[in-house]
């Protein structure tokens, strides 16, 4: 019998099993994503060919179509034009079209950025303040208030879509960045308060007491001592909030049309000639995936520690 390892350590067989399960799971979840990325690099024809092409000649047509508006022209007209100035014009003309201007995608994408990061910041900031108060002060009816805050997540947010639609129209918040930031913040705040309260509870109150003795006010102590130590929790909470508001679709369809429309309701509306322009949709979705991915990778170190909810200190 092998006595070189401790009883608590898993055997090499169970380690291998675990690795196998993770690999299978990763493959299953990665297939749709890789298919989407592949589609974004196909041309319109190979995207819908049957049987599906796994090996194909990569093309940037999807990305060009995503960022431009085009119109079909007759061959005579195309011949009368001066030679194309750059590669994407050439690509478009090979399809007997000319670029008529930039598409709305960049605007929608930056709307998503503003609303996503704005509401994430607001949720985490307000959530941290509320969580600190719940964690440290004797708040009257504390448990009831916490339950009430949580109860706002006991129904799907879309259940209140109609009253919110009417409210937003009356208040003039419909189709505005501020309106969407407020809405996503409201939805995320309960999660943020609960998550962050757990983290705040883990931070010994001696730290801010020490800071207060050192001459700082409670608010200064909160910013200089408590927040840096709650970074793990803040990172985890920020990622959850960001994922929600970045991906949110239903409210965005309902409440935004022109000014504040985010990317999720916009991408499926990219229509090509004679059907959906799958490579362009694939390109939009791929680009849409990047910010959350980068955001998560940046905060990953904190997230991994944060997910365990401070079960193990240090």
């Amino acid at each position: 019998m092998d006595t070189s390892r401790s009883y608590l350590e898993p055997s090499s067989f169970s380690k291998k099993m675990a690795a196998a399960i993770i690999i299978v799971y990763a493959v299953i979840t990665l297939i749709p994503i890789s298919w989407m990325v592949m589609t974004s690099f196909k041309n319109v024809d190979s995207a819908i060919s049957y049987p599906p092409e796994v090996l194909f000649e990569p093309s940037l047509e999807g990305y060009v179509n995503l960022f431009t508006n085009r119109s079909r022209q007759s061959q005579e007209y195309l011949d009368s034009l001066p030679p194309p100035e750059n590669w994407y014009e050439e690509l478009v003309r090979s399809r007997e079209m000319v670029i008529t201007g930039p598409s709305k995608f960049l605007g929608r994408y930056s709307n998503s950025m503003i609303i996503g990061f704005g509401s994430t910041f607001a949720s985490v900031f307000l959530g941290a303040l509320a969580a600190y108060a719940f964690s440290r002060f004797r708040v009257p009816l504390k448990d009831d208030l916490l339950f009430f805050i949580l109860s706002t997540r006991m129904f799907p947010p879309i259940a209140v879509a109609v009253p919110i639609f009417i409210m937003y129209r009356k208040l003039g918040l419909g189709d505005t960045h501020l309106g969407m930031i407020i809405l996503y913040t409201v939805v995320n705040l309960s999660l943020a308060v609960w998550l962050l309260k757990g983290f705040m509870d883990e931070i010994p109150k001696e730290y801010e007491e020490a800071a207060m003795i050192d001459g700082y006010s409670r608010l200064q102590a909160f910013f200089k001592v408590v927040l840096p130590q709650a970074m793990t929790g803040i990172a985890a909470t920020a990622i959850f909030c960001m994922i929600f508001s970045w991906n949110e679709y239903a409210f965005a369809v309902l409440l935004t049309q022109f000014n504040a429309q985010t990317a999720p309701p916009f991408i499926p509306t990219i229509i090509g000639e004679g059907g959906l322009d799958w490579p362009a949709i694939g390109a939009g979705t791929t680009l849409f995936l990047l910010p959350v991915m980068i955001f998560t990778i940046i905060l990953r170190k904190h997230l991994l520690r944060g997910i365990t909810f401070g079960a193990v200190r240090k």
């Binding site: 010994p204 001696e206 730290y207 007491e209 020490a210 800071a211 207060m212 003795i213 050192d214 001459g215 700082y216 006010s217 200064q220 200089k224 001592v225 840096p228 130590q229 970074m231 240090k314």
Partner: protein, 360 residues
């Protein structure tokens, strides 16, 4: 540096009174220890002096200023926490600079003062280290340093040696004492460890149940305790008590216990009731075979140069601290008698010691 004075200080948490009507004067430059079992109110008292708790009633003077209701940040005191509370996201230098930054010192001044304090505490070689890489003793020194750089009116310490292991605690005890002699700052130190209290303190206040029972120099606390609790809490083991089923009158100089006559110091005060206690320290008792209380040896503990013999008598267990050369066997019949007249009579009704020739 300042005198600290608390007047009629009281603190309640709901129905529970943590500190009852306490009065205390801590002199300038004194090393003052608040000693008591857990839950006795010593930490609450300290936290009220620091401004981390607000008193329910009463006043706290720091120098001439009444600070009872001021915020901690406005009091100019330093506090060393039991768990050090060093900011883990800053290195040692930033931890030490943190209080100075708030006070608006110039960068060069901060640097000088931090390095001065670091030198004094011999942590100048680890100024750029992370807190998490430090040993317990170094963390303790950094915590002291953070208190020191401010040059505050007073130092408050809440069991700062509690988390160190025994060997290190002794060393830090010495260092603390030396540091106090070097800088001569008014210090209030909370502990439940009587050895720490005895070795550090200029004066000790013994607390129990939210009350200050006695505040005196260590040797007076030990030899002339004012209440039965102080007598039993201080000393290892604590004082022995025998029940005396008679009233004590003025000028009385002996009592009868279980038919044995014991000399006591001449009493200057009479007792309130007819049930009192005869108190004697274990080292003031000896074993012999012909006089004193009869009993049998119940246990023997070796302490190196001394040993503690527990004798089971009809009055209960009596601890006797004797020379290592005394030979006894378990269950051997022995008799216990005092070797001197350092005996205190405690009033059975008030638990307070009665004045006598020995304790005035």
């Amino acid at each position: 540096m300042s005198q600290i004075k608390i007047v009629n200080l009281q603190k309640s948490f709901g129905d529970f009174t943590a500190v009852k009507n306490s009065n205390l004067t801590i002199n300038d430059k004194e090393f003052f220890v608040l000693l008591g079992p857990s839950g006795c109110g010593k930490t609450t008292t300290l936290r009220m002096i620091a401004g981390l708790e607000l008193p329910t009633s009463g006043e706290i003077y720091l120098g001439d200023e009444e600070v009872g209701m001021l915020r901690a940040s406005e009091r100019d005191i330093a506090f060393v926490f039991q768990l050090f509370a060093l900011y883990p996201h800053m290195n040692v230098r930033n931890n030490l600079s943190f209080p100075l930054k708030m006070q608006g010192y110039k960068k060069s001044d901060i640097k000088n003062r931090v390095e001065e304090a670091a030198k004094l505490l011999r942590i100048d070689h680890i100024l750029n280290s992370n807190i998490s890489s430090l040993s317990g003793g170094d963390r303790q020194r950094v915590a002291l340093g953070r208190a020191l750089v401010r040059r505050p009116k007073a130092f408050l310490m809440d069991e700062p040696l509690g988390t160190l292991d025994a060997e290190f605690r002794e060393l830090m005890c010495l260092e603390l004492k030396k540091l106090h002699l070097d800088i001569g700052a008014t210090t209030v130190y909370v502990t439940h460890d009587q050895l720490e209290a005895m070795s550090l303190a200029d004066r000790i206040a013994v607390m129990d149940g939210g009350e200050i029972l006695q505040a005196d120099e260590p040797n007076i606390i030990y030899n002339k305790p004012k209440t039965k609790f102080v007598a039993s809490f201080i000393g290892s083991p604590g004082m022995n008590f025998f029940e005396v089923n008679e009233g004590i009158s003025k000028d009385q100089s002996f009592v009868n216990i279980e038919g044995v006559k014991f000399d006591i110091p001449k009493q200057l005060e009479e007792s309130k009731g007819s049930k009192n206690f005869f108190g004697i320290r274990p080292e003031n008792l000896t074993l012999n075979n012909n006089e004193g209380l009869k009993g049998s040896v119940f246990g023997v503990e070796y302490l190196g140069s001394r040993k503690i013999i527990t004798v089971k008598t009809s009055l209960g267990e009596i601890k006797v601290k004797t020379d290592i050369s005394v030979n006894t066997k378990l269950n051997e019949n022995v008799q216990v008698k005092p070797i001197n007249n350092n005996i205190i009579i405690f009033d059975g009704e008030t638990d307070k010691s009665l004045n006598s020739e020995f304790i005035k």
